[in-house]
Amino acid sequence: MITYELMVLLRIMPKPETKQVLRRIADQIFEKGGFIRKLENLGTQEMPYKAKAHDAIHKQASYFLYEFHAPPSSIFPLLDEYIRDVDIVRRRIFKKNEEASFECTLSQELLPPPYRKEVQELITEARKKDKPKFQYNSGLDYYPFQK
C-alpha cells in the first residue's frame, strides 16, 4: 500500500476559513476511498518566490502536509480537484519514502582530518602507490657513511 504525501499551500485566511479548506481537502481524499494518516501544520511562511494562483499574487502561504493512502488511480483526479480550489495556491503529491536507518557519526566527522577513519584509509591507499625505497639492511635507522 503506497503512502502519499500531499503538500498544500493555502492563501492567508482567518482560522475558521482555513479549517473549512482543510476539511474540504480531506473530504476529497475520503471520497476517493482513501484515508489520512497524518496532518501537519508547518506554519505560515514567506514563499521562496511570489506565486500567482487564481488571478492573485501570493508572497506568503500557509503550509500544510497530509499523509494519506488512496488508490493510485485517484491521484490525478485529486490534483485536478485541488488546482480548481481557489483557496489553494500550490499543491503537490509525492510518494512517501521509508526513512533509511542511519547511525549518527557527527562526533567522528567533527574530528581533525588526520584522526578521521576515512582520511586514514585514503592515506594508506595512497602510500601503496609510493615508489619502493632501497633498504640497506644494516640494522641501523640512519646511513652510517657520508652521502
Binding site: 479549517k19 475520503f30 484515508f35 496532518l39 501537519e40 508547518l42 502536509l65 549518527c104 557527527l106 562526533s107
Partner: protein, 226 residues
C-alpha cells in the same frame, strides 16, 4: 692554415702537393668516382606517354627453323615422358601385391576382425566412462535440485514473514488513522500546533530545533556527539 702548411713542409712536400690537399675543389679524377651502373626505370614508373600506344613487333621465325625447333621439342618431350613412366613402373609398390581376389578377400577379412576387436575394446572403455559420468551428473543434479528446493522454501518463509510484519505494522498504525469522524478534531489540533522540522547544530553537538528559535541554555544534545 699556416700551421698546416708548416706541418706539411716538415714532410718535405712540394708546394703544389700541399695546395692540392688543402683545397676542397679537387680536380676531376674518374678513378675516384663510383662505378656507373646501367640505368633501369623503377617498377613504379609508368609507361612513357610517347610509348603508350606502341605495339611491339612480334618476332617471326623462318618456317623451316620453327619446324626444326618443334621437332626437337617433341622429341625431348617424348623421351622424358617415357623415362618417367619407366621409373614409375619400376619403383611403384602397388603392383607388387598379388592380384588374386581370394587372397585379397582373406586379408580384408582378417583386417576387419582386427578392427572389430579394437573397436569393441574402445567401446567397452567408453561405456564404463560414460556410465560413471552420467551417474555423477545425475547425482550433482539431484543435489542441486534439493538445494534449490530448500532455497525456495527459505525464500517463501522470508517472504511470508515480511508480509506478516508489514500487515502487523499497518494494523498497528490503522488505530491512529484519520477518518471522517475524527477529522475535525485533528484539524483543530493541527491549527493549534505548528510543526517545525528545521534545526541547527553547534560544533559541540548542541541541537537547536526550529527555524526562528534563539539559542537558550536548555538545548538538547545530539546522541553520540562529543
Amino acid at each position: 692554415m699556416f700551421q698546416l702548411i708548416k706541418s706539411f713542409s716538415a714532410l718535405k712536400l712540394s708546394s703544389n702537393t700541399i695546395a692540392k690537399y688543402c683545397t676542397y675543389n679537387l680536380s676531376y679524377n674518374p678513378a675516384l668516382l663510383p662505378v656507373k651502373k646501367t640505368h633501369r626505370k623503377p617498377r613504379w614508373v609508368p609507361v612513357a606517354k610517347s610509348k603508350v600506344f606502341r605495339i611491339p613487333k612480334k618476332p617471326k621465325l623462318p618456317e623451316d627453323e620453327a619446324n626444326e625447333i618443334r621437332r626437337l621439342f617433341n622429341n625431348y618431350k617424348n623421351n622424358v615422358r617415357s623415362i618417367r613412366k619407366y621409373l614409375y613402373k619400376k619403383h611403384c609398390t602397388i603392383f607388387e601385391i598379388s592380384s588374386d581376389p581370394q587372397e585379397i578377400l582373406k586379408e580384408f577379412k582378417e583386417d576387419l576382425v582386427k578392427c572389430h576387436e579394437i573397436n569393441d575394446k574402445w567401446n567397452a572403455e567408453v561405456k564404463i566412462n560414460r556410465e560413471a559420468r552420467l551417474q555423477k551428473e545425475l547425482d550433482e543434479e539431484l543435489v542441486l535440485a534439493e538445494k534449490k528446493i530448500e532455497e525456495q522454501m527459505l525464500r517463501e518463509e522470508e517472504m511470508y514473514a515480511f508480509t506478516e510484519e508489514l500487515v502487523r505494522k499497518q494494523k498497528e498504525a490503522s488505530i491512529s488513522f484519520i477518518t471522517p469522524e475524527n477529522i475535525d478534531a485533528i484539524i483543530d489540533k493541527a491549527l493549534a500546533e505548528e510543526t517545525d522540522y528545521n534545526f541547527a547544530i553547534y560544533p559541540n553537538g548542541e541541537k537547536i530545533i526550529g527555524k526562528k528559535t534563539r539559542p537558550t541554555q536548555e538545548t538538547e544534545k545530539v546522541v553520540g556527539a562529543q
